[in-house]
Amino acid sequence: MQSQDNYRIALLSSYALALHGLESLIPMPLPWIRVGLSNIITLMALLLFGFRAAVMVTLTRVTLASLFNGSFLGPGFILSLGGGISSILSVVCVFTLLPGVFGPVGLSLIGALFHNLSQLLLAYALFIQKAEPVLIVCPVLMLLGTITGLVNGLTTDLVIRNLKMSGISLHNN
């Protein structure tokens, strides 16, 4: 059981890493802010394998990415970590407190929203300290984040649907 989980986590982490790398190519007016493509993996891990798995995947992705970048413990690391964790927490809260209300699309949107807001907040509080550039980037990020969230949600739903078809069981946390 344990080793199967680890295997899955490792596999998912590598997908997440790839997406993380991909989304770092998207230019943003504020450095180190990301649109949240890798949330697909996080969400899937959560729905398929549970809270612990999702957290492990996120931590692995963020740490490895920053180690490969040479930006470990740097601002990029902090923002990704903060964004990732708050994204998971928000989704888990909604999932637990309001079961059945939101499907993968809604959960993905919520995750994306919290991911982006926490990034902006952390960037403002820790690094930028000037309200103006943060406020200016906010709408753009929100829009991109919403679109990404939608795409992620639909993709997740599609994948899970297919997996269900192939008989893989969903883990409910």
């Binding site: 699309v105 200016i136 739903d157």
Partner: protein
């Protein structure tokens, strides 16, 4: 199996949330664009203090040097970009042209803001007497 199934299986809450978020994003985007299109200035800050303010409508290149790094700001066709910076990851340069918003170089502690405040308080003096 298909995308259509996925779309159909979205819940009511999902759709409401989506519409709500899209609405807010577009709205705030329009608001910001409106505010920014009225801007005519590029403000360059070094180490937290405004050092230069330039009009957006005149093309020029400005070399900015701070105690933690340097970069060159290019203003052209009402857009701004950073070329030739001393920071290691060159994130500021990779942003390309910016018409509204800001380019921030965190290692160099230099920020270039388009559409900054009309009148900047606390501008650094060009010289000090006394």
């Amino acid at each position: 199996m298909s995308l259509k199934d996925s779309i159909r299986s979205t819940t009511v809450a999902d759709r409401i949330l989506l519409i709500f978020l899209l609405f807010i994003s577009f709205f705030s985007l329009l608001l910001t664009k409106e505010v920014l299109s009225r801007s005519k200035e590029v403000s360059i800050e070094v180490d937290g203090e405004v050092r230069y303010i330039y009009p957006l409508d005149t093309d020029r290149k400005v070399y900015v040097e701070g105690s933690h790094g340097h970069l060159t700001v290019e203003i052209k066709d009402r857009g701004v970009r950073v070329t030739d910076s001393s920071c290691p990851n060159k994130l500021c340069q990779r942003q390309g042209w910016v018409r509204a918003g800001a380019i921030i170089c965190i290692p160099g502690r230099i920020s270039v803001t388009v559409g900054g405040s009309e009148k900047s308080k606390g501008v650094t003096p060009d010289a000090i007497t006394g």
